[in-house]
């Protein structure tokens, strides 16, 4: 034991220290939480020694004989897709100004390697969705840390860890809040055991006809006007949806309006382009709306504007004035200022289009598109009597920017690694508690009584479509041999004992007892990436639990498909006591409000629940009930 390990050895004890040093861990994300997690891992000695018994420890998975491809090599692997931005530097402390635009994974490795000479970090500048990160890649780790900023990647890693049967430490922060959750297949709830909030979308008529809040005008500028003029309007934005409340007649009328705008687009490049667009959307369309008197019985009718009327006493060079104003992003421009910025940004974006950029999409860090959206949103707000905002404020709303600070990231990341110690303690058998006493932990920054709130980890939700299935691997030959769907169907009948069943990929059903059209198609058509999942559902009367196959593409020669393990006996599905409420209901999904405010309320409810409950048994039960209440509003915490 080197002297620099003294603290760790003293506090963790020798067996756990040894385990930590011989471990192989994966860190997904090198952003706000990721930088801090990496520092904590490196300074705690994770993966800093060559190990010998790593392979033995993982010899048995689910009681199935399993021979690892290679014995585990101690180390820390960091995967991140992103590059460094100026606004990262207030918290992502492994990066400096000179690193801007460089890959986060590489710079994080470079800086953190200096913290401990014996550490072994492997950096990947790549997406965790890439085919190289298949189930066998995940199986090569003792522990996985998620330090991600989006739902899709969180769900993906959750699923990969379930498939590989590797414990996962999931985390997130927003503003002063933060949370950490330990996940292990069959032991705890998984990330998807509780429904997650869906993206908020607005009814089309609110956006196009009856805005009442600044965000409605921002969405209009960003998701309607900008794409119609400079992007592709074919695809409807996810921000806007036709809902039951929308008037069909009005929706048809709005389609016509959009068509008319397309004709104006043809004028792009001419000096009067900005004026034509302005008069179309802020005069003609507004006048049409205003004429629909029944719409304004309980609302303030909009006041149309005309380009010339607004420009009348303004300076001659509107574009120049707009350019000067656009730097003042903290100030709230008046409507004449907005006209100038509008004219300026239309000019700049038109020039970009003329220069060959065929599609310009909104990007909060593309200043030209932000100028356009801010000016157009404000002019529309003025028309509808809605308060105007500064470009800086509009950027936050248009770009879904989540406040992020150094301290919340540091606190959350420190808890992640402390969870890691606990999980490792359970792996070497020196703890009898669930995952070594791991907990669901929340930061409590505004409490006068607690720094953190904890909650016992709940058992898996029996109906969870993600973690209740049995996971197995399906190996496909890399080249040579072209297995077809029929081969998979035959194999499943033989090895798993299915009679009537269906096969689903992420794209949809490819086989069921009434769908045999695809049987001759090559399996490769369905497996575009090695990490895609295939779900097999028993359609028989009794109903076995689902089987999820994670696919691996073998580089070496292999004849046909191979199922790992070779024989699988599926248990029957647990009897459901209550009807499944997780399924897709027919109506429109409830819009979900921002997570930050609710998560603190959720944490408070949890804390109160814990305080009230006396016995451990009761506590476990209450904790489980609580989860259903709170997790649908509080579980998605984003870390930018």
């Amino acid at each position: 034991m080197q002297r620099r390990d003294r603290g760790i050895a003293q506090s963790l004890g020798l067996p756990l220290t040894k385990c930590v040093k011989e471990s192989r861990v994966l860190l997904v994300g090198a952003g706000g939480i990721g930088c801090e997690v990496l520092k904590n891992l490196v300074c705690s000695g994770f993966g800093s020694l060559p190990g010998v018994y790593g392979a033995e420890r993982r010899a048995s998975i689910d009681g199935v004989e399993h021979v690892p491809v290679s014995s585990k090599k101690p180390g820390i692997v960091v995967v991140d897709l992103d590059t460094i931005d100026l606004s990262n530097l207030n918290r992502q402390f492994l990066f400096r100004k000179q690193h801007i635009k460089k890959p986060k994974a590489f710079v994080a490795k470079e800086t953190a390697s200096q913290f401990n000479p014996s550490v072994n970090i492997e950096a990947h500048h790549a997406s965790i969705f890439d085919s190289q990160y298949d189930v066998e890649f995940f199986e090569s780790f003792d522990l996985v840390f998620n330090a991600l900023d989006n739902l899709a990647a969180r769900r993906h890693v959750n699923r990969m860890c379930l498939a590989a049967n590797v414990p996962l430490v999931e985390s997130g922060t927003t503003g002063f809040n933060g949370q950490v959750q330990a996940i292990k297949k069959g032991v705890t709830e998984c990330y998807d055991c509780n429904p997650k909030p869906v993206q908020k979308s607005f009814p089309i008529c609110t956006i196009r006809s009856t805005p009442s809040q600044p965000i409605h005008c921002i969405v209009w500028a960003k998701s309607y006007l900008l794409p119609e003029l400079f992007g592709t309007s074919e695809e409807e934005s996810a921000d806007v949806a036709v809902t039951e409340g929308d008037n069909a007649e009005e929706v048809a009328k709005l389609k016509e309006e959009a068509e008319a705008l397309k004709n104006i687009r043809l004028m792009m490049g001419k000096s009067e382009f900005a004026q034509h667009v302005f008069d179309k959307v802020f005069h003609d369309d507004i006048e049409r709306l205003r004429s629909m008197t029944e719409m304004w019985q309980s609302r303030r009718p909009p006041q149309s504007l005309s380009f010339d009327g607004l420009k009348a006493d303004a300076e001659d060079d509107l574009v120049k004035r707009g350019q000067a104003l656009s730097i003042q992003d903290q100030a709230v421009w008046d409507v004449k200022d907005d006209l100038a910025v509008f004219a300026y940004s239309v000019d700049v974006l038109s020039n970009r289009c003329q220069a060959g950029e065929t599609v310009i999409e909104f990007d909060k860090d593309d200043k030209d598109t932000l100028d356009f959206v801010a000016a157009a949103a404000n002019i529309r707000s003025h028309v509808f009597g809605i308060p105007l905002h500064s470009e800086w404020e509009i950027k936050q709303m248009a770009g879904n920017i989540i406040p992020a600070i150094a301290t919340s990231n540091a606190l959350t990341a420190s808890l992640c690694v402390m969870e890691g110690f606990k999980i490792m303690r359970s792996q070497i058998g020196s703890s009898t508690e669930t995952l070594g006493g791991s907990k669901m932990v929340f930061l409590n920054s505004r409490s006068t009584e607690r720094l953190i709130t904890t909650q016992s980890l709940a058992a898996p939700v029996p109906e969870c479509p993600v973690c209740s299935p049995i996971y197995a691997k399906l190996a496909l030959p890399g080249d040579g041999g072209e297995p077809i769907l029929q081969d998979l169907v035959d194999m499943l009948r033989e090895k798993v004992g299915y009679e009537e069943f269906s096969i689903t990929t992420e794209a949809g059903i490819i086989y069921d007892p009434d769908l045999e059209d695809n049987l001759e198609k090559p399996m490769k058509d369905y497996i575009t990436h090695g990490n895609k999942f295939i779900t097999v559902t028993d359609e028989g009367d009794e109903g076995k639990v689902d089987l999820v196959l994670s696919t691996i593409v073998r580089s070496e020669a292999q004849s046909g498909l191979q199922l790992l393990p070779d024989n699988i006996t599926l248990p029957l599905k647990p009897k459901k006591a209550v009807p499944d409420t997780n399924g897709h209901a027919a109506g429109t999904p409830e819009p979900v409000v921002a997570s930050a405010a609710n998560s603190s309320a959720g944490a408070k409810r949890k804390r109160e629940a814990e305080d009230e409950v006396e016995s451990a048994k009761k506590r476990a039960k209450a904790g489980k009930q609580e989860v259903h209440v709170v997790d649908d509003d509080g579980a998605i915490l984003l870390d930018d």
């Binding site: 080197q2 002297r3 620099r4 003294r6 603290g7 760790i8 003293q10 506090s11 963790l12 520092k39 904590n40 300074c43 705690s44 100026l86 606004s87 530097l89 207030n90 918290r91 402390f93 400096r96 100004k97 913290f115 401990n116 503003g175 002063f176 809040q213 730097i327 992003d329 903290q330 308060p387 936050q396 920017i401 989540i402 406040p403 992020a404 600070i405 150094a406 301290t407 919340s408 540091a410 606190l411 990341a413 420190s414 808890l415 690694v417 402390m418 006493g437 907990k439 932990v441 920054s445 505004r446 409490s447 006068t448 009584e449 607690r450 720094l451 953190i452 904890t454 006396e614 930018d640």
Partner: protein, 388 residues
Amino acid sequence: MNGHGALAAEDAAGETVAAVALAQTISADEIALYDRQIRLWGVQAQERIRSANILLVSLRALGAEIAKNLILNGIGSLTIVDSEPTTEDDLGAQYFLREGDRAVAASPRLQELNPRVAVRVDPTDIRTRDQNFYHPYDIVIACDHDFDTLSIINAACRIAQRPFYAAAIHGFYGFIFADLISHDYIITRERSNVVTTVRPETPTRSVLAVSTKKENGKNIEMVTKREIYSPLLLANTSPLPPEYLKTARKRRTVTPLLPCLRALWDFQRTYSRLPTHVHADIATFTTLATHKNAELQLEKLPSEFLRSFLQNLGSEIVPVAAFVGGRLAEDVINVLGKREQPLQNFAFFDGDGFVGQIYALHPIFPETDGNANGESDGIGGTVSVMVL
């Protein structure tokens, strides 16, 4: 935070901080750099943060985490006092360190974190400094030192009228103490149905003023509050608030870290060192801790905890330093920004049991018996707090 008129200009530290204070208001570059945090606390709070001069005493694992967070957040200047040489033990948990004097050796890497912050090193022994030394700083943070040193710094800060924090970690365990003397802050929130009135909220906190405004159709209220504090010397002998002592279950929720820390400070005062694993030390420490536990009117001290606490003494592990240091830095930022409830006044963190509790420990003398029931809203007027 205090004004900058009272700087000791002949002092080098004073010159540095005066120069920082003279710098013009926040630039567009800074707004871009601090974008994600300004979106949380606003430009005004950021301006207060950027003009703040902070003194940090002792740069070990905990101090490094505090320094890192404050520098990243963009304070005006950070002065680090540490006279200790780097030992090989330090290198494990103190990742900014290289060979050499601790503060001097770490400062280039701390400075790299944010070139806008004036990072200054003072490799002298803090115990040689009087109250004038503390005057140029808006907040003083002291880590790692024993109780007597912390108390002396605290007393000097009281005379200089400067807010004071103390903190330490021992392996999985850590504490934060705050003596902000008297701190005013403004909570901005949406108005609820319950009217906020000017009155005491707790024995240490009172509402001084309430004003309202309308914003985006919402009724917003701005509540000016004041927290008053006690020095470490008194907090260390103060009882737990009565609400923690009402039932055996409540008493059991109090972390044994509190009596153990008090016992540790007593032990250090007598022996000028940490307890070791020899039998005599363990026996002495156990007696002290049991005594402190009884004084606090708590249930029996769990021997398992006692063993673990002793095992962790003197150890530094980075995740725990990151938690305690991160939370302390967050409080400093909140105090500078004057927009959030500050820590009142003792926080304990147990990274092994995942326990993080805050107690308001003050020499409080109930005027009427049995009435100080600690309901957060109902005890105005029945208790008084002694403030030095």
